[in-house]
Symmetry: D2
Subunit: 335 residues, 4 copies
C-alpha cells in the first residue's frame, strides 16, 4: 500500500522530476497539489495514467493523510504554505531557498526581501544527507539545499576538514549550470535564442547560494570566490574548484580522504586521479561525481564536481530526504 | 588591384574564416593552396564565385607572387611547409602552435614531440598585436597565438604590469571553448551526440596553451591554474579569471588601468564594472570583450574575457597581423 | 550623406537584423524609433557607437525627415502606426502580417481578429521583389512577406507557371523554422528547456502564412498541405516540398525552368540536381537556396528551399524592398 | 536467477541503450561480447558495477549459455556473425539492416553491396511486434526494423488497411532524426560544428529504409515519397505523414481506426485530434506516439508519429522482441 505524498509546484521542472521519481518509488504515491500560481497543463496521450490532483490547502492535505509534502515553489510561496502544512500534521520538504539560511537577517541580505516565517528557520534541518543524516530523520521541516551548494559542499568540506587547503589563498568555485536551474517560468534570459550558442556569467561573487556554502564549510566569504554561469543545455551542473594545498600531499591522498569521508554513502562517486566526470555521467541520476587533479610539484589542486541540478540538486535529494524521514533505505527509488 | 595572399588548410574552420575575412578585405584576394591533407570539397551553389586554387608548393607560391601565406594547418605541417615558403619569398603567418614557444625544449615538453624546424623559433614574432605590434611589422614569420592565450594574455598582463595582483595567491583561469577549437577533423570527442547537452573539462593544469601565457606575462607555472573545458557550442571562448588584489584598489581603478593600457587599439572593449560580456557579443567579430567584478571589501577580483576563437583567436588575429606586415591599418577588413 | 531610415521594434530579432544590415549599407543611416511596447536595453561595451533614438511618433518621423520607416512590430501595432506614418510623408515597409492579405475578411479568417486599417489593404504592395518588383518601386506601403511564404512562393511558382505540377495530387510543404521566427517576447514554447533536444509540429494545415502562398500561386487551399515545425536552432527555415509531375519531365528540365525564371535576380541560387542546400548555406545571408530531386521513373519530385528567416524572411528582404523604393541597386548592402 | 543475454556492439549508442534496458529488466543479465571492431572504453567511476565481458565467438556464446544475442553492429558484421551464433544455439536479434529485406536482390539494390548470408533471409522474422507477434515468438533470427520504418509502418498501415488513403495521390513521409541514428563512429556529417544550428535533408526518395515500408504496407515505390533529414539533437525521430482521403471521413473516425488496430498493445499511444506529440513525449521510452490532423472539408490528412530512435527504433524494440522469444510479457522492462 503506497504512502501518499504531496507535491506543490508539480508543473515546474523540479516538480515534474519529483513525479517521475516518486512514481517509480516502490513505497510512495505522488499526489499533485494544485496551487493558484500553477501554469497550464501540458498535452498528454489519451488514457495516460495521471496522479491524483487535490487542492494545496491544509484541509486537503490533512484529509488525504499526506505524510510528506514537497514544495517545489518560489521562496515566497514556501514561506506562505509551510506553517499551515506543518500544523496540518504533514512533514514538509521545501526545495526553495526559504529555509536554508539560519537567520532572517541573512535571508534579507542574500534574498533582498523580508522573511515571512522566521520562527521556522531554527527548526529547519538542512537537507544534505551526507552531512546531516541524523538531523534530517526526525525533522518536521527539511530545507533542501540549493543546486550549486550541493555540489560545492560535497566537494569542499572533506578537503577543509582534512586541513588540505591553504585558506589564505582562497577557494575558487567556477560553476556552470543548465538552464532548467532557472525554473520553468519564461523569461528573456532563458529564451532559446538568447541561450543557444551562447555562454554567460550571470552572478559573480554575490550569488544567493554562496551563504549555503559558507555556513556548511566554515569558510569566510573572503575565502570563497564563486561564479554562476549559464550553459546552453537543459540540465546539469559542473563546478570546477581550485585550491592550493596547505602542505605536501598527493592526488592519491586526496582521493583517500574523499573515499573515507563518503564511505558507506550511496551517491558520491569518484574517478581515478586525472580522470574527470562530465555531465553525461550524472544526468538523470542522483549521483555527485567527483574528479581530482593535483600537481604535487606546485601544490595546485583542481576538483571537478558534477550533478544533475534537478536530481541531486533538487528532486532526487528531496526524495533522499524523504526516505530518511519515512524510514526507507536512503537510496530507495533513486538508483 | 588586390594583393594575392595564400591559405593552406582552407577547408578547416580557421581556413574557411580566413577566406570569409579576406574576401571582404578591400586590399586582398585569397588564393587557396591545396595540400595533400585536405579533406573533400563541400557542395556549393551553381555559379558561386570561388577563389583560385593552386598547389601549396613553394614553386607555385613563388610563381603566383603571394606576398603572405597563412598556414591553418597542424603544427607538423606548418613545420614542414614554413622553411620552403620563406625561401620562396613569402611571409608566413602560422596559425598552429609550431612557432609559439621560444625553444625546442619547451615545444617538446608541451607538444610531446620533437620540433623539426627549430632554427626558426628565435625569428618568429609572437602575433599578438596589442603587445608586439612593432616586432610583427617587419617579421618574415609570425606565429599567431593560441585561442586561449589570446584572451588570457589580454586580460592578465595589464593587471600584472600595474602590480594589482597578489601573485602568491595565484591566478585561476577557468576557460571554456566552443567545439570548433578542436578543428574540423572528425573525432569522437567532437561528435554531436557526445557534446550536445554535455559539458566537460578536458585539460587541467597541463594544456599546451599554458606556456604561451607564462612567457608573455612573466607568471610562473605555479602561479597560474588553467582549465580548458568544452562548451556545447560551435564558436566562442569565455575565460573567467580569478585573482586577489595585492593592495587596496577598486573596480573603477582596474577599469582605468585597462583602458589606459589599450588606449588607441581597436579590438579590446570594456564594460561598466559588474556588467559582463557574453559570447554573443563577440561571435563573428575580432573583439576581445572584458568585464570586471571586484569586491573591494575582500580584495577578490573576477575578470571575464570573451573572444571568438576562430576570429580574434585565429583567422581575425592572423589578418590583423597581415595588416601590420603589409602596411594597412590594423583594423582593415575586420570591423 | 546617408539617408536616415527609421526602425520601430528595433529590440526584437528582426529589428536587430535591420540595424545590422542598414549600418553596413553604403547609403543609409538607421534611426531607432522608440515605441511603448519595447523591452529593456541590452548591455553593450563602453563607447560603442549607437544609432540615434527618436520617438516613433509621426511628428518625430516628419521632423527628422525619415524617407522610409520599417515596422518590425506585431500586426496590431503596425495597423496602428502605419496611417500616421504615411500621412507624415514616410514610406512604410511593414514586416508584420498586417497588410499581406487582400481583404479584411481574409485577415479576419486567418488572424482571428478584426483589421483596424482596412483602407490600406488594397494599396499595399506585396514585397516579394522577385515577383512584384515593379509594384514595389512606386509603393507608399510595402508589406514584407512572411518568412515561410517567401521560401514557398519562390520554390513553387515557377513550377506551377511551367505546368509541371499535377495539381490534383496536391503540393505538400513541410516547413521547419528556427525559434527566432517566434519573435523575442519570452514564452514557454520558446524557452530553452522546452526547445532543446526537441522537435515539434505546431501548426498543421491552418498556419496564418498559408493564404500568402495561395494568393501568390493560384493554388486552392485544398491543393496545398502545409505544416510549420519548430527546429531547436536560432535561425533558418528549410522547406521540403513534394509534388507529382503532370507530365514527363526531368531534374535538368526543372532546373532549367528555375534558372530561366530567376535569371538576372541576385538572391535565388540553385544546386546541381540531387545536391541539397542546408541551413548553413543561407544563414546570415539574403539568399534563397533551392535543391531539386526528381525521380523521372515515377514522376515524384522534391524541392528543398532554405532561407534565413531573419534575413530573406524578414529584415534582408525589407532592405531589398527599400532599395527598390529608394532607387538603389536591389542587392545594395545585402551581399 | 537472471538469464544471460549477449550484446555485440555494446559501445555504440544502440548497444549502450541495450545495456541500460537489460540491466533494469527483471529477468535478464546483459553480457558484453567484445568484437574486433569495438572502439575504446569510456571512463567510469571507481567501483562501478560492470557487466561481464566475453569474446563474441560462437564458442564463448555456447559456453556461457547465452539464450539470445543482440547484434548492434553494421550489416556486414551481422551477416558474418549470425550463422555461427545460430549454430551455437543462440537466438539472434539483429539490429542492423542485414536481414530486413526479403531477397538478396533487394538487399543489393538498396544497400549497394552483396549479401553474404542470403540463406537466412527467408527465415528471419521482421521484428515489428505490433504486426508480426506470432512470427517472432518462435523465430531463431529476428531482424529488428529500421528506426524510420518503425514509425512509418505503425502510422501508415492501419490507414491503408482501412482503405482511408487515396493511393493515387501518394503518401508523403517527411522524416527527421536525431544524430544518434548515424551511429557512434565519428564522421564529418555527425560532427558537432556541422550539425549544431543546422538542418539538412540527406536522403531524398532513395533511403535504404524505404523498402521496409513498402514490403510491410503494400505500397508501391511510386506511391511513397520519403525524405530523411538530420535534426540537431541527440535522439528522436518525428515523421510528418501526408495523405489525401479516398472517401469522406473524419479525424474521429481515423482515431477510432487506429485505436481499434492497436487495441491491447502496450506501446502505441494516441492524442486527441489536433494535438500533436513532440519528441520530448517519447524520448527514453519505447512508445510510438501518434497525432492526427484531418481537414474534412478538403480531405487532407496529416499524421505525426514520434519515437525514440534508440528505443522503439532500436534497443527497446529489440528487447520487446526478446520478451516475445523468451516468453515474458511483451512490455517487461520497458515501461
Amino acid at each position: 500500500m503506497p504512502i501518499p505524498v504531496g507535491i506543490v509546484g508539480f508543473r515546474g521542472y523540479s516538480g515534474a522530476e519529483l513525479i517521475r521519481i516518486l512514481d517509480r518509488h516502490p513505497h510512495t504515491e505522488p499526489v499533485l497539489l494544485e496551487h493558484r500560481t500553477d501554469s497550464a497543463e501540458d498535452p498528454s496521450p489519451r488514457g495516460a495514467k495521471q496522479p491524483r490532483i487535490l487542492p494545496s490547502s491544509a484541509e486537503s492535505v490533512k484529509a488525504s493523510g499526506l505524510a510528506v509534502v514537497f514544495l517545489a515553489t518560489p521562496p515566497e510561496v514556501s514561506m506562505e504554505l509551510t506553517p499551515a502544512l506543518l500544523d496540518a500534521g504533514a512533514k514538509v520538504i521545501d526545495l526553495s531557498g526559504a529555509f536554508r539560511l539560519r537567520t532572517p537577517e541573512m535571508y534579507k541580505k542574500w534574498y533582498k526581501s523580508g522573511h515571512t516565517a522566521p520562527a521556522l528557520l531554527a527548526e529547519a534541518a538542512y537537507g544534505l544527507p551526507e552531512f546531516f543524516r541524523e538531523q534530517i530523520k526526525p525533522a518536521r521541516l527539511v530545507s533542501n539545499p540549493g543546486c550549486y551548494p550541493t555540489a560545492a559542499n560535497l566537494a569542499i568540506r572533506p578537503l577543509l576538514e582534512a586541513g588540505i587547503v591553504d585558506r589564505r589563498a582562497g577557494i575558487v568555485c567556477d560553476a556552470k549550470s543548465g538552464v532548467s536551474g532557472a525554473g520553468r517560468k519564461p523569461g528573456l534570459k532563458s529564451s532559446f535564442c538568447e541561450v543557444t550558442e551562447n555562454f554567460s556569467a550571470y552572478s559573480l561573487l554575490d550569488h544567493r547560494h554562496v551563504p549555503e556554502v559558507l555556513q556548511n564549510s566554515g569558510l569566510e566569504e573572503s575565502e570563497f570566490s564563486f561564479t554562476a554561469q549559464l550553459l546552453p543545455i537543459n540540465r546539469g551542473i559542473l563546478e570546477t574548484i581550485y585550491f592550493r594545498a596547505a602542505n605536501s600531499t598527493s592526488a592519491a591522498e586526496i582521493l583517500a580522504i574523499y573515499e573515507k569521508f563518503y564511505n558507506g554513502t550511496p551517491f558520491v562517486r569518484f574517478y581515478d586521479p586525472g580522470v574527470m566526470p562530465d555531465l553525461r555521467a550524472v544526468q538523470r541520476t542522483n549521483f555527485c561525481d567527483i574528479g581530482i587533479k593535483f600537481d604535487a610539484a606546485t601544490g595546485r589542486g583542481v576538483i571537478v564536481a558534477a550533478i544533475d541540478n534537478l536530481v541531486k540538486g533538487a528532486a532526487g535529494q528531496a526524495v533522499q530526504n524523504m526516505n530518511l524521514i519515512l524510514g526507507f533505505p536512503e537510496h530507495e527509488g533513486l538508483l
